[in-house]
Every structure is written in structure tokens, then in C-alpha cells.
């Protein structure tokens, strides 16, 4: 885990003091809302439908147990007893009072957290593979680089007022669990022919009303030149990105209009202007940061666990959970456990203060006190001995968090939607609840297998519906909520944007429509085929025919 140095502590404390003063001046009437709004947004404080919403950054989705306990404490003390984990590995509180926000920020600062750059036209929270450092297929831990980018981009004076928000994701593995092609910049680490680590640099990805997958700007960027190259990209974007039209201001629009080759030339020219050694970190500094992410003290264990095998054989429910929620660890005898925030009929991404505290305890009892937040809105315990998995699963059962559905149809990503969000056109959460209840039979979920279903309440696509196998987009048609379905989206290393299947469904038809889609898949699939493979083989027509048969 990265620990703040003196500089980090000082600037976060300074921001808390500044914001306390700004809130006091707003409450006294010295600041108008027009003056205050940009200040509160710089500190992650939005005004939503019913209340303020505070978005707290969880850098690259990594939390220590004491930080999770603090998030629980904040939920209980200043909010309604829960928090909402988001697709950008952040946590949102839906009900803070304005006067409490400086206190919340001060409490966050105590555990080296803040809400800076979780809003506004700046470089947002850096996201990463939630299995960083533990995945068996990893080249190197991406968090070292995500942390370097975090430090470089935090309060960067040149990039605090970009044409639009800017999102960067980093992965150190060939399996893309960070949706890197869905970001303004995606970095994928790999090795060149000489075995040296570097990044494939992808640019111009984004979702929203114009979903575009990032294109490769450079196949291989040596890791030690990362910052200067990023600086060059940001400078070109800052100069040429459109500020006249909010819908055309993201980097993706610039990449589309310029072409990636022309952009590469501009970036290379800008890069050449940056003198060597002024931005890129010396190796000692990189190693110093990498040391924060050094592997914990694993015990030497055999990879097989007879206790685990016995428990799997004895308990079918546990076996199902292991099948879907346990991932291979790089260290023999260890496993990675996904804790689903999505019990059937639950609210995706929500966790109560009690649940957060209990998970912090479990992370200490069975792991090394570390927790990850995934873009799928689940929590992950990265270092569990295989022998302990059964006890962990039993403890999660008591918390109501042992749903065996990671990667399954009820593992739905859903944005807050019109129940909370000022931008939404339609509700997302009740639709997610209805669909997940429809698929509450465990045997049926296992039969359906790996699939992704994401629901966004507006075209801003916070729930990544464009890159879901089944995407659902809430729209408003003459005062009624309708749900448009896209099929064929993929968020991993084979990323693809889904296509609209046909006319939208109303809120009472959408669960049936999803069921019809699943039925077509089950009827048409060949042995061993996942949903997306069947869709790619047979195309949209069989789905269309069934969905709109009576039209």
C-alpha cells in the first residue's frame, strides 16, 4: 500500500482547510452558489436530486482495512449508513450535509484519502486492474505506475482546466480487467522482444453518447518514459481539444477528427520538446514507489488444499461460489475472492457500514488487510489462503454477501439512475433489481454462465452499457421510461461496442426481454460457448426475431 509522504499530508490538509473556509463563506452568504459550485466540485461534492453527493477517490481501487473502516464510519456518522461503490473504483455518499463535508474530508485525510479530482475537467481517479499484484497472468504490478500518474496528475497546474474530464486506466496483464479501451488513455503493460517492460498506449476511448474504443497510439513505450509521454498527449489535447461544444470536447472526438496517425505525429513532436530527465522519474524513485506495492509475506504452501477440495465436495453452494467468485492467484496455495455487492434484488454497489467493517475484519483475519474495489462495483479480497476460503464464505453468508454470481447475469453494473442522479433520464436500480430477481435460481445462473449485463440511466453511460454483452440504456420517451437494449458489447482485451437490437422496452417488459435474449442463447449455443461467442457466431437476427415476434 502506498503511504502518504509529508508533501501528500500537507497538501491534503491544506485542501481540507481551504474547503472548510469556502463552506463557511458559502453558508454565511459571502459566496454565491455560482462562485461556490466550481469549488465544491473540485472537492467531489455534487448536488443531486435529493441531497449532496460526495464522491471519494479510491486510487486504483486499492484500500487498506483501516481505510475501509473509516469509509464505514463516515457512512454511519454523516450519511444514511451505507456507501455506493462505482464503476470508477470510487465510493459515493448520497446524503451528506454541506456543513459536515469539511469534517468528512478531515476524517478521510486521517487515513490518507480525499475527494480531490473526482469531478471537473481534470485528470480523474486513476483506475487499474483490481487484481493488480496478485493475478497469475500479470507482467508487473500496474499500481506503481498508477501511483506515479496519480502524483503527477494531482493538482497539475497545466491540466486542472482541460477541455473535458480525462480518465486513465492501467493494467499490467494481458487479460484486460480495467476496460482500458474505454478510457481517454489506456495503458497496457507488456514486454518487448528484449524482455523489457513497456506500455501499449491507447487513446481516445470513452463511452457516453459517442462510444468509441481507444486506438493504439504507440505499441511500446518504455516504462521509464511514461510521464513525459503522457504529458505530451495531455498538452496536445489541452491545446487542440474543443472547448466550444461540451459534446465534442473529449479526447475521443479529437482522435476521430484528426486520425490517430496525425495525433501520434503531434504527440511525438511535443514529446521531443520535453527535455530528457525533467519529468520522467529516475529509477531509484520508481523503485521507491514500487516498494510500497511489494508482495506481502506469503507463506510457502502447496497449491492444492485438501480442506478446500473437501469443502467443495461437501457443500454445493460453496462449490458454486468458488466456481464464480474465486480467481487464480499467482502465489501457490492462495486465491483471490470476489465479494459480490449484488444479492438478488439488492442495489448493485451498495454496502452498509456494518458490511464494510466486517469486510475490513475479514481482510485482516484471512488476508493482509487489503481490499480492492472493482469497476464491476464488487469488493475483492486479494490474498486468501485456499484453506480459509470456506470460513470466509461462511462469514460472508452472515453478512448477506456470499452471492455466487461474479461474472454471471445478476452481477449487474448499474448507475444510481433517476433515483438519485440529476443527469439521469430513467431509473436503473429498480430495473437491475427486477432482472436479478428474475435470475435468482442458482442452477439457472450457472447454466447461463459468463455474461455481462450493465444498466445506465442516461446516455452518459456511467454503467458502461455500451461494452456489456447485454447493455440496457434508460431513455425518456414523452414522459415514460423506456429501456433500449444493445447486444454484443465486450469490455475485456477484445473490447467491442454493442449494437442496438431494436425498439426499446418499457419498465414492465424489460425483464421479459432479457429472459428472451437468454433463452435464444441457451437454445442456439454450441457446447462450451459463452453468451458473447454465440452472439458473435449467430448475429443479432435470431434475437430480434424472438424479441419482436409479435410485432
Amino acid at each position: 500500500m502506498y503511504r502518504y509522504d509529508e508533501f501528500d499530508h500537507a497538501f491534503v490538509a491544506e485542501r481540507v482547510a481551504q474547503f472548510s473556509g469556502q463552506v463557511a463563506r458559502r453558508v454565511s452568504g459571502e459566496l454565491s452558489e455560482d462562485e461556490f459550485k466550481p469549488l465544491r466540485l473540485m472537492n467531489g461534492l455534487y448536488l443531486q436530486l435529493h441531497a449532496y453527493m460526495l464522491r471519494v477517490a479510491i486510487p486504483y481501487g486499492t484500500l487498506a482495512s483501516h481505510q475501509l473502516r473509516k469509509l464505514a464510519h463516515i457512512a454511519r456518522t454523516y450519511d444514511h449508513g451505507y456507501g455506493h461503490f462505482t464503476t470508477r473504483q470510487n465510493i459515493q455518499y448520497n446524503w451528506p450535509k454541506l456543513e459536515d463535508v469539511p469534517k468528512i474530508l478531515a476524517e478521510l485525510a486521517e487515513v490518507e484519502m480525499h475527494a480531490i479530482q473526482t469531478s471537473g475537467n481534470c485528470i480523474r481517479n486513476i483506475t487499474a486492474d483490481p487484481l493488480a499484484g496478485v493475478a497469475a497472468d500479470e507482467v508487473d504490478d500496474p499500481r506503481t505506475y498508477a501511483e506515479i500518474i496519480r502524483q503527477w496528475s494531482t493538482l497539475h497546474p497545466e491540466f486542472s482546466f482541460l477541455p473535458r474530464k480525462f480518465k486513465i486506466a492501467v493494467t499490467g496483464a494481458p487479460s484486460d480487467r480495467a476496460v482500458t479501451r474505454g478510457h481517454d488513455i489506456g495503458l497496457r503493460m507488456h514486454r518487448n522482444a528484449d524482455g523489457e517492460p513497456g506500455f501499449e498506449v491507447m487513446v481516445g476511448g470513452g463511452q457516453g453518447r459517442t462510444p468509441i474504443l481507444a486506438k493504439t497510439l504507440r505499441d511500446f513505450l518504455p516504462v521509464d518514459q511514461m510521464l513525459s509521454y503522457l504529458e505530451a498527449i495531455l498538452r496536445v489535447y489541452n491545446q487542440l481539444g474543443r472547448r466550444d461544444n461540451i459534446y465534442k470536447a473529449r479526447l475521443k472526438i479529437m482522435v476521430e477528427s484528426l486520425g490517430v496517425e496525425a495525433l501520434a505525429e503531434l504527440v511525438e513532436a511535443e514529446w521531443a520538446q520535453i527535455p530528457d530527465g525533467t519529468l520522467d522519474l529516475p529509477i531509484e524513485e520508481r523503485q521507491r514507489i514500487a516498494a510500497y506495492f511489494a508482495p506481502p509475506s506469503y507463506v510457502d504452501l502447496p497449491d492444492e488444499s485438501s480442506a478446500l477440495d473437501g469443502a467443495i465436495a461437501a457443500d454445493a453452494s460453496f462449490a458454486a461460489w468458488v466456481e464464480s467468485n474465486v480467481h487464480e492467484h499467482k502465489q501457490p496455495g492462495y486465491a483471490i475472492a470476489t465479494i459480490s455487492t449484488k444479492p438478488h434484488g439488492g442495489i448493485p454497489g451498495d454496502a452498509s457500514a456494518e458490511q464494510m467493517e466486517a469486510i475490513a475484519d475479514l481482510a485482516e483475519q484471512y488476508g493482509f488487510g487489503e481490499i480492492r474495489i472493482s469497476h464491476k462495483q464488487n469488493l475483492i479480497l486479494p490474498d486468501i489462503q485456499k484453506t480459509d476460503l470456506f470460513a470466509l464464505w461462511q462469514a460472508l453468508g452472515i453478512l448477506g454477501m456470499s452471492a455466487a454470481n461474479a461474472g454471471r447475469i445478476s452481477d449487474i453494473i448499474a448507475c444510481p439512475g433517476l433515483d438519485y442522479c440529476n443527469l439521469a433520464n430513467a431509473r436503473s436500480i429498480p430495473i437491475a433489481q427486477r432482472i436479478s430477481e428474475r435470475f435468482s435460481d442458482l442452477a439457472r445462473e450457472r447454466e447461463i454462465g459468463d455474461i455481462s449485463l450493465n444498466i445506465s440511466g442516461c446516455i452518459n453511460a456511467c454503467a458502461h452499457h455500451h461494452v456489456a454483452n447485454i447493455g440496457v440504456l434508460g431513455v425518456d420517451k414523452k414522459g415514460t421510461e423506456y429501456y433500449q437494449v444493445t447486444l454484443g458489447g465486450v469490455s475485456n482485451e477484445n473490447a467491442a461496442i454493442g449494437s442496438i437490437i431494436g425498439p426499446a422496452f418499457d419498465e414492465w417488459q424489460i425483464a421479459d426481454a432479457i429472459e428472451t435474449i437468454v433463452d435464444v442463447y441457451l437454445q442456439q449455443r454450441e457446447v462450451g460457448e459463452k453468451f458473447i461467442q454465440t452472439y458473435q457466431r449467430i448475429g443479432p437476427q435470431p434475437f430480434k426475431e424472438k424479441l419482436y415476434a409479435s410485432d
Binding site: 453558508v27 451505507y82 439488492g346 452498509s352 433517476l418 433489481q433
Partner: protein, 107 residues
């Protein structure tokens, strides 16, 4: 909570003023006593566009003086003499999130 229907307001529908309270962001309504209430039942109704303009002006004065954020007009109708919001967004603002604020799975 079912929000199955939300009618399209007619052109000359009555309007009222809503805003968010500065201190906690709560949904509030401008009352006939030139005050603010959390209950839509207390809202001052403007029967025509001219009256609505006067109400908005009044509300903007409150916003300029602080304690109220972003006042705007929205359409209402009267059911048995009680004002109710028209449009799904305003219905949800009136009632709160349709999924409730508490987790479905308390420990």
C-alpha cells in the same frame, strides 16, 4: 414505489417553485407565505405564466440571499385540492428514491 405513469403536462398547467436547501440539499418548495417547506402540499401554485414569473423572481431573491440553491419552476396539478408534481423526475424528487434509502439486507 410505482411510477408507472407520468403524464405530459398541458401547455397552461399550474406551476410551483422547487429548489434544494443549501444546508443539506433537501428538496424544498416555495410556500404562499414566501417561505420554504419540504412538503409539496405547502407549495404556492401559480395558475398562469405571469404568476409563475412573479414566483420565480421571488425565489431567485431567496437564492441570492443564500440558504436556497437553484430554484426553478415545475408543473403541478391539483388532486382533490392538493398539489402534486407532474413528470417522473419531480415525482421522484417529491417522494425520494423509489428504491428506498436503506439496504435490503440489514445485518
Amino acid at each position: 414505489m410505482s411510477i408507472r405513469t407520468s403524464r405530459i403536462p398541458a401547455e397552461n398547467t399550474a406551476q410551483a417553485i422547487t429548489a434544494n436547501r443549501l444546508s443539506d440539499g433537501s428538496v424544498i418548495y416555495l410556500t404562499a407565505k414566501d417561505n420554504w417547506s419540504e412538503r409539496i402540499e405547502d407549495c404556492q401554485s401559480a395558475p398562469d405564466p405571469q404568476a409563475a414569473k412573479v414566483l420565480l423572481h421571488q425565489a431567485q431573491r431567496h437564492a441570492a440571499n443564500g440558504h436556497v440553491v437553484g430554484p426553478y419552476l415545475f408543473k403541478i396539478e391539483h388532486e382533490n385540492g392538493t398539489p402534486v408534481a407532474l413528470g417522473r423526475r419531480e415525482i421522484i424528487r417529491t417522494r425520494g428514491p423509489s428504491v428506498g434509502t436503506d439496504l435490503k439486507r440489514p445485518i
